[in-house]
């Protein structure tokens, strides 16, 4: 997400760097490039126009053009305006002093509401809450089944009345039910609806005035184009939502719709949802994302990710293995899987400051290489994984066939592994950092 927008903006800045003085023409050209970058990222064209005009006016001000470092000044202006556009620090949910806190989740069809409800429930469990779900989508075939399955997966009760009741009544009785069950947060999954569907928009408006939710969250697909603004404005008018859950963030969309929605409604993006696994859900940090877009990295998120994903115990075990030089292909596989849980390689690299995404292009970070390696290792017997030395010619051929690759790839992997093993031995005899984070904390 946002990576490619970042590339484009940096290209625009690059053109300005190394120039002692900026002329009006330089600024115009950079502004045009920024305009294109934002449009290609699906930022609404009106929002783009205003943004670019603001940047231009400020950049053409005397203090920038005459400053000693006009290019830096320009980047600073863009940064400030971008942060202003996205909103600054992340905003949390509102919890009612009198439980249950009611959260109503609304949005277009197919934007990912039901999955987001399941993920939000899991997220709240992790925060020490005892959430429950209400199935108020009586229209889409099997929507209730879907929520019930997710509820069971997360371990959270689900209230439903089948498909014959009025959704507003279901929501109302759901709140009562949550209260008697002693659940402190209630998440209402509503049917997907078009913002121009008067009847269904009226239904959510009635639900809102009946159950008086403490939070209304609009679910927005990160891949949405220019129409996001229409959608958000209509939902704003009819239900006054408090914030946005941005879904499908694991795709490669540039996410401009999110910027536009914030700009036209003033409502923050509260959560980012990634992937179909239920734990891909976190608070959205606009300031961090702005800094990532500008190629300034996002170390905070990287550190949080590493801390959450890398298993301390496993890391210590690995260290032991390294010391004893008993690092096997099985450990190698485990390592790959741990790193992959952090996200795609390119997305990780994008978080490291000083490594602007466009500079990484030449590196050819291809996550598919990991898939190939994994496939090859999966095709080995446990014995082979523990003792790669026994992998002779015929075994190699079998592994190549089994993994859908070729002999060359298998040989390459085994050679690489040998090198890694050698390297590990050297490392093992020396000092290995206990915590991978030390790398970031002690820049020496």
């Amino acid at each position: 997400m946002f990576d490619s927008l970042s590339d484009k903006l940096q290209a625009a800045f690059e053109g300005l760097r190394g120039q002692g003085k900026l002329t009006e023409k330089d600024v115009e050209r950079a502004a045009r490039e920024i305009r294109l970058a934002l449009l290609e990222a699906d930022v609404n064209y009106k929002v783009v126009k205003e943004f670019v005009d603001k940047v231009k006016t400020r950049a053409l001000g005397a203090e920038v053009l005459q400053s000693l470092t006009p290019a830096q000044q320009f980047v600073k202006i863009v940064n400030e305006e971008l942060t202003a556009l996205m909103g600054s620090a992340s905003t949390k949910l509102t919890f009612s002093p009198r439980p249950p806190t009611v959260i109503m989740v609304v949005g277009l069809q197919g934007s990912g509401k039901t999955t987001a409800c399941g993920k939000l429930a899991k997220f709240l469990l992790g925060e020490g809450k005892s959430p429950a779900l209400v199935a108020a989508d009586v229209y889409r075939p099997a929507a209730i089944d879907q929520l019930k399955t997710l509820g069971a997966q997360v371990g959270v009760p689900v209230y439903d009345e089948g498909t014959t009741s009025d959704p507003v009544d279901i929501a109302k009785r759901g709140v009562e039910w949550a209260r008697t069950k002693g659940r402190d947060v209630l998440i209402i999954d509503t049917a997907g609806r078009l913002h121009i569907d008067a009847k269904l928009m009226d239904e959510v408006a009635r639900m809102r005035s009946t159950v008086k939710p403490h939070n209304i969250l609009l679910v927005l697909d990160a891949m949405t184009g220019q129409d996001a603004v229409n959608v958000a404005l209509q939902f704003q008018e009819k239900v006054q939502f408090d914030g946005v859950i941005l879904t499908k963030m694991d795709g490669d969309a540039r996410g401009g719709a999110a910027l536009s929605v914030r700009a036209v409604t003033g409502k923050p993006i509260k959560f980012a949802s990634t992937g179909e696994k239920l734990d891909g859900f976190e608070y959205f940090h606009p300031d961090r994302v702005a800094s990532r877009i500008l190629g300034m990295g996002d170390v905070l998120t990287l550190i949080e990710k590493v801390e959450r994903t890398i298993d301390e115990k496993k890391a210590r075990e690995l260290e032991q293995k390294l010391r004893k030089s008993s690092f096997t292909l099985e450990d190698f596989l485990e390592q790959i899987q741990q790193v992959r849980r952090l996200g795609s390689l390119s997305s990780l690299l994008g978080m490291i400051p000083g490594l602007p995404a466009n500079k990484l292009k030449g590196l050819q970070v291809d996550d598919r290489a990991f898939d190939r390696i994994q496939a090859i290792i999966y095709s080995m017997t446990p014995e082979e994984r523990r003792h790669p030395d026994i992998i002779n010619g015929s075994r190699r051929r079998r592994i190549a066939a089994g993994s859908g690759s070729d002999l060359h790839a298998v040989n390459q992997l085994l050679n690489q592994f040998k090198q890694v093993q050698k390297m590990m031995k050297q490392l093992g005899s020396g000092r290995v950092p206990k915590n991978p984070l030390q790398m970031f904390r002690n820049p020496s």
Binding site: A198, M223, G225, Q226, D371
Partner: protein, 337 residues
Amino acid sequence: MAHDWSQVFRGISPEAAASARVESQAAEEKPGGWLTQLREGLAKSRRALQQQFASVLFDRFDEELWETIEEALIYADVGVETTASIVAKLEAEADAGLIKDRSGLITRLREITAAHFCQDDPRIDVDHQPAVILMVGVNGTGKTTTIGKIAWHLKELGREPLLVAGDTFRAAAVEQLVEWGRRVGCEVVHQERGGDPGAVVYDGLVAAEARKADVVIIDTAGRLHTQVNLMKELEKVVRVIKKRMPDAPHECLLTIDATTGQNGLIQARMFKEAVNITGVVLTKMDGTAKGGIALAVSHDLGVPIKLIGTGEKLQSLQPFDPLTFASLLFDETLGRV
């Protein structure tokens, strides 16, 4: 609007289509929706003709006019590159003196836009025994619903569709397809959730032969094009189909949600790389989104847009017409329709 559905499916005789008289229903129209827009758009063009003074304003093709056109296209999610290419063509014609006035300009703009679509046969090929249709696309774009709609139309045309629940991943995906099968009145082959999609698909093909179904429509799990493993899984599904029926699938339809922005193009490219997309279904055209990304997708992939989805009912399916689509991108004033 009634469509001649023999023009929509290849392998359906005009007689069958005529006797079925499948009507694309208009009941689901919403104010501001696609169909209403079409009607209002036509009314608007009449009005526009009367307002001749407006054309004086536009008779000078100045920088501002080109910018307005650009904005109209960008607003419709056509994208910067496609917009530039369309506007360049239009500008060249204007410079050559081929376009006289504003109304001529709008007409050419629409024609050029319509011509940007891949012009291949837009019919859905069901001229096989059985014909196999594979439905693929990103999460939530409307695969399962579209399958229900296509099956219903085929059934109305006297065909015997059979649905295969190849989405073994998403919670309640099987139940959802089974419910569509019930509404259409056709059989649904399914297994338990969590199973191998290839195995269900194989079962489905075997069942189709045993039960003399003419059209097999296979649902697949929604997947982001960036998920390499899941894209591989899709390739495997195609291999399984080919093992049983070497010339199948006869159609591999990609659903694209009309609200999708510029990411739609990358989506389509990646799906095309994995499985050979034969056509696109542009869904959710009943909203206010224009679906302009379909232009780039169709042009870039060389694949026609075959159908549009206009609602959540069985009947909410329509053939795609490039010129109508282009007319709905912008009105005479180049404002939003």
